[in-house]
Subunit: 353 residues, 2 copies
Amino acid sequence: MTDSIGSGGLVCPVPMLETDRVQLGHGSGGKLAARLLKERFLPHFDNPILGQLGDAAVLTIGGAELAMSTDTFVVSPLEFPGGNIGSLAVHGTLNDLAMMGARPAFLSAGFVLEEGLPFDLLDRIIRSMAEAARAAGVPLVTGDTKVVERGKADRLFINTTGIGALIPGFRPSPERAAAGDVILASGPIGRHGMTIMSVREGLGLETELESDAATLFPLVELLRLAVGEVVHVLRDPTRGGVASALNEIAAASGIGFRLDETRLPVPPTVRSACEMLGLDPLYVANEGIFLAILPAGAADAALAAVRAHPLGAGATIIGHAVEVHPGMVTMKTFLGGTRVVDMLPGDQLPRIC
Amino acid sequence: MTDSIGSGGLVCPVPMLETDRVQLGHGSGGKLAARLLKERFLPHFDNPILGQLGDAAVLTIGGAELAMSTDTFVVSPLEFPGGNIGSLAVHGTLNDLAMMGARPAFLSAGFVLEEGLPFDLLDRIIRSMAEAARAAGVPLVTGDTKVVERGKADRLFINTTGIGALIPGFRPSPERAAAGDVILASGPIGRHGMTIMSVREGLGLETELESDAATLFPLVELLRLAVGEVVHVLRDPTRGGVASALNEIAAASGIGFRLDETRLPVPPTVRSACEMLGLDPLYVANEGIFLAILPAGAADAALAAVRAHPLGAGATIIGHAVEVHPGMVTMKTFLGGTRVVDMLPGDQLPRIC
């Protein structure tokens, strides 16, 4: 607590901009996180595969073309309506593989347990994790467990790493976004992030709001079978939400995007929760939807394919690629004006996944 | 601190045996850890690949035969003579692959950073990690970074997951240990663990004692080229040390082992540090040596091959397989007697890796 001043029973946080230390915003999906990666990690680890900076690495080993992805989950609270850290840890990593056009095949799991963690809580989490893996048809093949002293971790962190085989002829990639493309959202936005926030902030919306975190590969498979390789980009808009994901794709492809606010599928409960907390749903993390960027001519077939799956029933076109402001995301607002949808420096919502 | 009683400035820890919560010993290489795995994880995740319970999973994907291994590093302190958590996170996972007879090929890394972690410390760790990966010829191809609030993690945890291609015709495996085998240790025992303990306990041995953590694949490769598939078992005796590793191999193979205390390569500084702290070097974690179990007839060729590498200069035969006490490890002591070398319930040394 070096950044607080205590006086009797009162503790007042003193805002400080520390440039020589890690800040919470470095864990966001925003600009600080991008800088951390670019300035502290990439200069040391630079290699062509890491340099692709996709949701997963694409690599060749023993003659097989694979995707590999890793994610550590530190979500707080550990349990929430619609799931827990265990199911989330499976969905999150498998989805990263699916977004690269890979069929998820195997998972590893690394646990950090805080001394004193109740076994009944651990059991519930393990059970959900196993159910999620079984439902996805992806076995957990290797694991590791570490225990740290009380107060040295926040109860439980889980890393999952997945590998999957790339599907020949299907290679969605951010730089393939092109003029004439539309942006398809496979479902309503903001549900996962606002469920976590609602529990954390005690908004009392738990009966109405449930995380939609799910394995998206079956949905991707329907999309691929319907329209094939014209799927230019797939991205699950997790940390940093739809806004950050589109900004990253815009930067990678040199294409601009224009969203239509009247078409954004923001459920009323998500909108209310966002208004109560002063948050913008465009920056809220999702774990149960993807964005697909594909030619306008394939939009109807793509929508029909995605909507055929229960997870994709709410699929809709939320915007399109434009050439007038390359690398930039804008939005036509409810009132007919236009605003820039930039990346945030940090995050509205820490520890959402 | 629910298990402490405070009175004025004094805090007395109250020993409690909690059976419904995670204890530090569950993170050891001992019996508690084995029970945690068997009772809480395996019933849910059971599948043939995980059930092998090797240092790494062996799997087939896209026609390629691979090994996959994951490990989360929570070592405290983060930096120590001979390395830091970054280099250790590379060595540890690559060695698990090598012990399965795989050639390490790719690594992922997942970081949990505590808010307030100094960037200069992070930079040193990343640099060591990158150097270790480069030296091993294994690129880090994908990563993830999470940040948690101050007090919610102990500065930095790192998960690494590795994949490697299995080497045809070379499949060391614990159940292959057989009568007539000897136990080869590739170097002195206890150096990594006692270096960490020495720093933590302020023993002042830092100038004499340095962690030997290193990538062992080059050494394994020399051994394989010299004696080939007669290498029945390879195991790096990390958490729980040589004693726990041999007990696990004894249980898997149904063979007994007999160590010779006069032949144990325990460096004098390790022995002194162990005596100061009341520890047994047989249970101290290693990160820079392996045990190879192979027929006595191949021992000379194996020793010559391993000793040809600087990391293996201290290789020696420390014992042999016996049929008289299957599944059990014993040791002929300095005094000529025999004692049982069992697994510990918990661990002498928490957070050593």
